[in-house]
Amino acid sequence: MSDVLLHTFACMGTVVNIKIVGNTPNAASFTERKEAVSRAENWFRKIEVSCNRFDATSEVRKLSQQPGVPVVVSTILFQAVNFALAVAQHTNGVFDPTIGRHMESLGFTRDYRTGENTASSLPVRASTSFRDVELNEALQTITLHEPLLLDLGAVAKGLAIDMAARELEPLEHYSIDAGGDVLVSGRNPDSGPWAIGIRHPRNAEQLIRTMHVSDVAICTSGDYERFSESSSHHHIVNAATLESANALASVTVLADSAMVADALATAAFSLGPKAGLALLERHNVEGLLVTPSLTQFATARMPLG
């Protein structure tokens, strides 16, 4: 009989479910599992405090109030921005974390926890880009050369999942599910690989695919969640055209790291089927791209079936 510890909490605009399978011969004690889960949750909280664009007191919002000067930031914020900028470079700015203020102007301004409008008072400038952000690794500083707001939505949740996974690593068999961004390790409660469904982008009650995998992160970016209040834009915006990307309905990416999977799913979504698929192939990650007419494109080694 399986012995599964389920732990659920709300964080980062979503619900996080951690599942620890404990029926193995050398399974950790209940206390050990609880401790690990508690540390995993702490990572989510810490990363949210740093990276939440919707919270006026977050580190990322404070950073946006100090354009033009190098600001010493936490390792969390530094690494999240560092990675987001690298993805921006690799996609020629189609993915761009400096899009925060633009997202606000599209109506993405509500703090999911309070429902409060938390828009910053920064000017909207269509011209800001990732090139306006300078990092200094030695001093761990970030300099914003233009007044801009960083949106780390595609990176922070993945980073939190990766951190949580590090804490749970000794427990071997577990899954972390943060609102559909999933990381699985070891075996599922039935001692097999984890069965992961990919949501059908046009019907919430259906799965478009099911995979049996382990030791991998699976993240999906879709056009079906979080429409803004003031327009018909969904939450993934092509930073180069500033319109919601519409050539794809959803992109699922499999990678060792949830941060990588999440960011590449978002980037591929913005790029469209052809360039998106090429991006995934170039980085040796697997993925499934689904168009609005439900045509599916998969990388060569995507474990479908």
Binding site: G22, F30, T31, E35, W43, I76, G179, A195, I218
Partner: protein, 276 residues
């Protein structure tokens, strides 16, 4: 998966390096908190078993369950005692059964009554444990040290009062067995025991309670027995039919899922877990 064996490219390597950097920088703080948590747990642990007076003869329902939990989860007396101190769940709402699917032979659809009925000692303990565990965790937020707090208060008294003998001690095992007859082994090909089982799933918009019934090894009834979400549950009303048709959720997780359907699946999974 083949990913790990393959050469990594820039972004993949950079991502991995970033994760390591954050973990390394942050570990010092979490490690300290974890250590504190661990120390406090040790402080709360009851005296070693061999010195403990045997509780047999005065075994109450709570103690038996406690011993069972210790057997199940290792020697974590304080933790399990605290969990049992929490009341059994079933929120005091009278939300009607929102959505249900059932086979013809079943007509009754009063989840709360049935839940109480099937809440034998065993079910009650498991429910309490599951809900208390998640509550205790959910209540914590800022630090691991804080996480220890909800466990502490009821535990210190409860744990000393109900000292747990090692699960292997024969006399205790003997008093324990009548209180909780082991489920009969399942015949091959049968996944679940017959009975009614309740599971809970949480979402940011509220909680979902699902009830399943298993009859002759098959799911004969699935219901969203309580839908405590802020919004109507209509958008997940087809899910019970799906579970019924497929005889269980056929996946562990759904990538890209909406939160409410996630909550429903977790509720079903938890219920089926109890049926095993």
């Amino acid at each position: 998966m083949t990913h790990k064996k393959r050469t990594t490219n820039n972004l993949v390597a950079l991502g991995a390096a970033g994760v390591v950097a954050v973990y390394a920088a942050g570990y010092v703080r979490t490690a300290a908190a974890a250590q504190r948590f661990s120390d406090e747990s040790n402080d709360r642990r009851p005296v070693p078993e061999r010195d403990a007076p045997s509780p047999q003869g005065i075994v109450t329902a709570g103690q038996t369950s406690d011993a069972r939990m210790a057997e199940k989860f290792g020697n974590s007396a304080s933790g399990s005692a605290a969990l049992i101190a929490k009341p059994t769940v079933v929120a005091a709402t009278n939300a009607p059964s929102a959505v249900s699917v059932k086979s013809e032979r079943r007509t009754k659809n009063d989840a709360n009554v049935e839940a109480d009925k099937s809440s034998t000692n065993d079910e009650a303990v498991k429910n309490a444990m599951a809900s208390a565990a998640s509550k205790a965790m959910a209540d914590t937020s800022k630090t691991a040290a804080a996480a220890a707090a909800p466990v502490t208060t009821p535990a210190t008294t409860a744990a000393t009062a109900t000292v747990i003998p090692p699960a292997t001690t024969p006399p205790v095992a003997a008093t324990e067995i009548p209180a909780k007859p082991e489920k009969a082994p399942l015949p091959p090909g049968v996944k679940w025991h017959d009975g009614r089982f309740v599971g809970y799933g949480q979402s940011r918009h509220g909680d979902i309670e699902a009830t399943i019934e298993v009859w002759e090894g098959k799911i004969s009834y699935v219901a969203i027995s309580q839908c405590l979400t802020q919004y109507s549950c209509s958008f997940i009303e087809k899910l019970p039919q799906q579970v019924f048709d497929r005889q269980g959720p056929n996946v562990d997780n759904v990538s890209g899922a909406t939160q409410s359907s996630n909550a429903f699946y977790y509720a079903i999974m938890q219920a089926l877990q109890k049926a095993k």
